[in-house]
Symmetry: none
Subunit: 252 residues, 2 copies
DNA sequence: CTCCCGCCTGCCGCTACGTCAGGGTCAAGG
DNA sequence: CCTTGACCCTGACGTAGCGGCAGGCGGGAG
């Protein structure tokens, strides 16, 4: 099975020029030439090219790719495992970015200003370990958050308006309940906490009681969220937190 | 809040040189300068930089990034939604690559040789249209193939073992039928062709009669597949091809 | 006042190709 | 047999997105 440059280029989705380049720098030299000097690629060359393209897509410099591929201490299975791992790392990274975007959406919805550090904690350089711990602490369950992303991406303007309206209606009612002086573990307050949970579940992601209490704790831990609720009504952040916890316990 | 280049570089995880470059090409010019000519970045500049870095990480050329960011017909929420969508597309892409790697791992375990087309159907910077056309030609329905990918990626080791076993059992039986000398359009052969179709449907993708005959033709057209069946028993490739066609006609 | 760190503006270099230019090759058709 | 068009070859230059250094100014701590 021999292939010309053009055939290889077509099947692999690269340009002929790129294949010339790989030949020039010795990254991928065809196993032979025709008498006329035409490059002839065989199946082994194609396999090598496949690996080259894999690492290239992940952004590795060509020189490094050569080193990886030519590593004598790596059997085919080891390569596959390495590639698999690289991919999952990348996916994790992108999912973190998704989470960050979601966070920014949430913040902009509540009109919260992001600090410079927050702006760039996911973009730019970022330390993987530190960041992962941070994300865990923040969201507890990243799968729930991804679900949210999947849904939110499909919302129309009308959907957003409805969400806003529902949210504001809920806001007015909990302010009223707070003002009426009933305790946070009263049926009225717990009912509104439950409604809060259901709004999230309906519009964003499946919000279990556990996730809900985690969210409530974040509202207390993160000053910007605290302030958001405090600005609506003094004491609301703590009141809501308590109501959510009480609601979660009573339904468990 | 004003920041110097160095400060911005540090918090954003980019080099000072890169910021100089962005200034040079007009992608991100600081909102002001000190009397001494020092660049001064404010919060709005940081926000812009955040977007720049986002699109940069996804591989957009800087010129295009400028166009995207300066698009007057896009409010902040629209940007966030767009970014979100881009991310999910990327994640899907990477997950497809994971599927392909897993497929390759299994193939290498079962000692199955990959065709060149299979090698590159996921890698390479693949032209969506051309690629889809190619996949269409090969698979009849590209959605079916994606469905296959989605399913295959969730198979456990036990599933793979069962598939292998089912496949080998089917292989033994069709070899027996072939050896018995009954024609390819006999009920026995057609029944095995039908079973073949159902194995594919059960484990990989919804395999209509049309797709099935397309597959059968590929078995004949592609030497690798032909040899795979010829190695099991001489004449099997053509026999199976005929049986599949006969089966499709009789059930239509 | 001095020292050192940070900032400035060129300018050259690098990677991974894109894009001609100028010229041979091969299979099909007239 | 000869032509035509698609395909191949080797330079050689251009481009994007910076990295890195040189040579010189600014500014706050000691």
């Amino acid at each position: 099975m021999a292939y010309t440059v053009g055939q290889v280029a077509k099947v692999a989705g690269v340009t002929v020029r790129a294949l010339h380049h790989y030949d020039e720098i010795g990254l991928l030299s065809p196993s032979g030439r025709t008498p006329a000097g035409y490059r002839r690629y065989d199946d082994a060359d194609l396999e090598r090219l496949q690996h080259v393209l894999f690492y290239r897509e992940l952004g590795f410099p060509l020189e490094e790719i050569a080193a990886i591929i030519d590593d004598p201490a790596a059997d085919p299975a080891a390569h596959l495992r390495r590639q698999h791992e690289l991919l999952t790392v990348r996916i994790t990274r992108l999912q973190e970015m998704v989470t960050a975007i979601e966070f920014a959406m949430e913040a902009s919805k509540l009109n919260i200003q992001l600090t410079p550090e927050e702006r760039f904690e996911v973009f730019g350089d970022f330390n993987p370990e530190e960041h992962e711990a941070e994300a865990e602490r923040r969201w507890g369950d990243s799968e729930a958050y991804r679900e949210s992303n999947r849904r939110v991406s499909r919302y129309s303007k009308d959907d957003w308006l409805r969400i806003k309206e529902e949210n504001e209606d809920w806001g007015r009612r909990i302010v009223a309940v707070l003002a009426s002086g009933v305790p946070a573990d009263s049926p009225e307050a717990m009912e509104l906490a439950e409604e809060h949970r259901q709004i999230i579940s309906r519009w964003f992601y499946e919000c279990s009681y556990e996730v809900h209490t985690g969210l409530a704790d974040m509202y207390m831990a993160d000053e910007r969220f605290t302030r958001h609720y405090e600005d609506i009504a003094p004491g609301l952040a703590a009141y809501l937190n308590e109501a959510i916890h009480a609601n979660a316990i009573s339904r468990a």
